[in-house]
Symmetry: C2
Subunit: 333 residues, 2 copies
């Protein structure tokens, strides 16, 4: 089945290709009658303009490439949604590609995006280095979300993870906790390091020494939360609260605590990070740090539009918010 082209429409409507194009794009005024017959023909023949040909001819694809890491993380998902929302009716459409958190796949996907001649690239998370990215994108407007780069060419929209870590720890300290354990995220992950830094700062400011035996490594997974609590318990050190690097880890920790007869929040207070959908319905509902994920995605879209039309880039570091629910309570005396 051959596709209907602009030429077919022109023939049927009795006008030239150009006129059809003009009607379709509304670039310049055309005779109402002709306009009508073009529109009619369009509808009658079921004409679907080829965006491909259009891009090739105009040089702009009117699409923004969005490279995600679909690890099933609600956080990254929310960002994507924000990007979509932010693009709204700008005329640009998002084109998603996925890196699956594997550098090679990520590079391939990005190359594919660039090959499709997207007008800009938004990278949500990911692990390619700034150099690798620049090499592939070559001057294309590029920005990252939920990942901070300090280089000039790649702009980034991120939240202040250090602040988040501080907020979580501070909340616990205010409730009178001193023996606060922290389950960290992936060590190489900058977010994880920042959150831990926030924990350290809060402890320091409160004049509470950080006990190294209360800090356990994790990897952002629920399993690692379980393991971490096991580790903490086997070390035999006392703690009245746990700050987990993300909600998923907190879920695992909560389960492990339960299995060991420790009640949340009665015996141990628990704070997560992310505020993913399920957290509000956990038993007990989880106190956590909300990341404005959706908002970040929106900001990314707005920033991208500015980048494209040359308005420049306004750097912004969004802030997280403490959401107090029922997994925390003041320390028993």
């Amino acid at each position: 089945m051959k596709n209907v082209t602009i030429q077919d429409i022109a023939r049927v409507a009795g006008v030239s290709k150009s006129t059809v194009s003009r009607v379709l794009n509304g670039t310049v005024a055309v005779n109402p009658e002709k306009k009508k017959s073009v529109l009619d023909a369009t509808k009658r023949l079921g004409f679907k303009p080829s965006l491909i040909a259009r891009s090739l001819a105009s040089g702009r694809s009117m699409t923004i490439g969005v490279l995600t890491q679909m690890i099933g993380s609600p956080f990254y998902d929310a960002i994507s949604q924000g990007v979509i929302a932010g693009l709204g009716d700008t005329g640009y459409s998002p084109l998603f590609a996925d890196g699956r958190w594997q550098v090679q796949k990520e590079a391939d996907a990005l190359t594919a995006l660039v090959g499709r001649r997207v007008d800009g690239v938004v990278l949500v998370g990911g692990s390619m280095t700034s150099e690798q990215i620049s090499e592939v994108c070559m001057g294309l407007p590029t920005l990252t979300v939920a990942r901070r780069f300090y280089d000039q060419p790649i702009h980034s929209i991120a939240i202040d993870n250090e602040l988040g870590g501080y907020q979580a720890t501070d909340c616990l300290l205010r409730l009178g906790h001193q023996r606060i354990a922290m389950i960290r995220g992936i060590e190489q992950h900058e977010d994880a390091r920042d959150r831990f830094a926030g924990y350290q700062r809060a402890m320091g400011e409160a004049g509470v020494a950080v006990d190294p035996s209360l800090v356990v490594d994790g990897d952002f997974s629920a399993e690692s939360g379980i393991r971490a609590v096991g580790e903490l318990l086997s070390r035999g050190c006392e703690f009245s609260a746990i700050f987990a690097a993300n909600d998923l880890t907190a879920f695992g920790a909560r389960l492990a605590l339960d299995r060991n007869g420790l009640r949340v929040p009665d015996d141990v207070s628990l704070v997560g990070f992310d505020d993913q959908m399920e957290s509000a319905f956990f038993v007990p509902p989880l106190t956590t740090i909300r990341q404005p994920a959706r908002e970040m995605g929106k900001q990314a879209s707005v920033a991208m539009m500015n980048l494209i039309n040359g308005s420049g880039f306004e750097s912004c570091l969004l802030t997280s918010e403490l959401v107090v629910r029922e997994s925390t309570r003041s320390v028993k005396d």
Copy 2:
């Protein structure tokens, strides 16, 4: 910054466009020397072939459009991952678009996909009617995942939701429960209806009459789980088990039960549907029906490849699996 074209390479390498194309695609043999110089030039100039021009010229875009509904659902996410995995090294790349569960957006996104001249379309969930889809896709290989169509032109890969509903209910019945409540999903949603049908069949086969007052409506959200339990309790009817239409609903139900002093599984057994990641770490870990989401996505890719190269379509209805964890126990006597 002008993009490097095949023409530039040709000039630098001292050959014709055609030869460059041949080297790049490896269609026919070319002189090794020329080949080398082309490859060199390619690398040196940082040439990135324009997939757009390629598609226009060849008529095939080598991309499969995947229309998702990014509602942040782990289930649909897993399907997408399956599709990606299934495409593997077939040479085809997935092109994602999103409908956000809004018919209009969905139609727009699908139109955009078709406009991009994808070689096939995979619809993951969604709410467009079979007619609407056909109208937009016009003869393009199309198939749906997690949604069943009985029409000829649109193939579908789905799981047997009725069976899943049966499995969940049967599991409860075998544990001795008779007063089994069901929190249904969105009424218009076929999956929801099928799951309920499975519940009815299991009850029927066990010779247990379905008490209408034990059936409550929900909408697949955690909030609806909370509301449903409230409703059940206010009706004052007794029940020793609940089958929730999906895990999220089960989460909400679990929280509501807790708030009302009912323990899971001691007072009430609870079964969900989906087996989303968090379910294994719930307190208590949730007994649920696992949907082979990833597998479905993979199957979709395979089926699409067959559709494209004309091998025809082998319909398949995948089956769900009961995952017994700790939210269920035999009825107290």
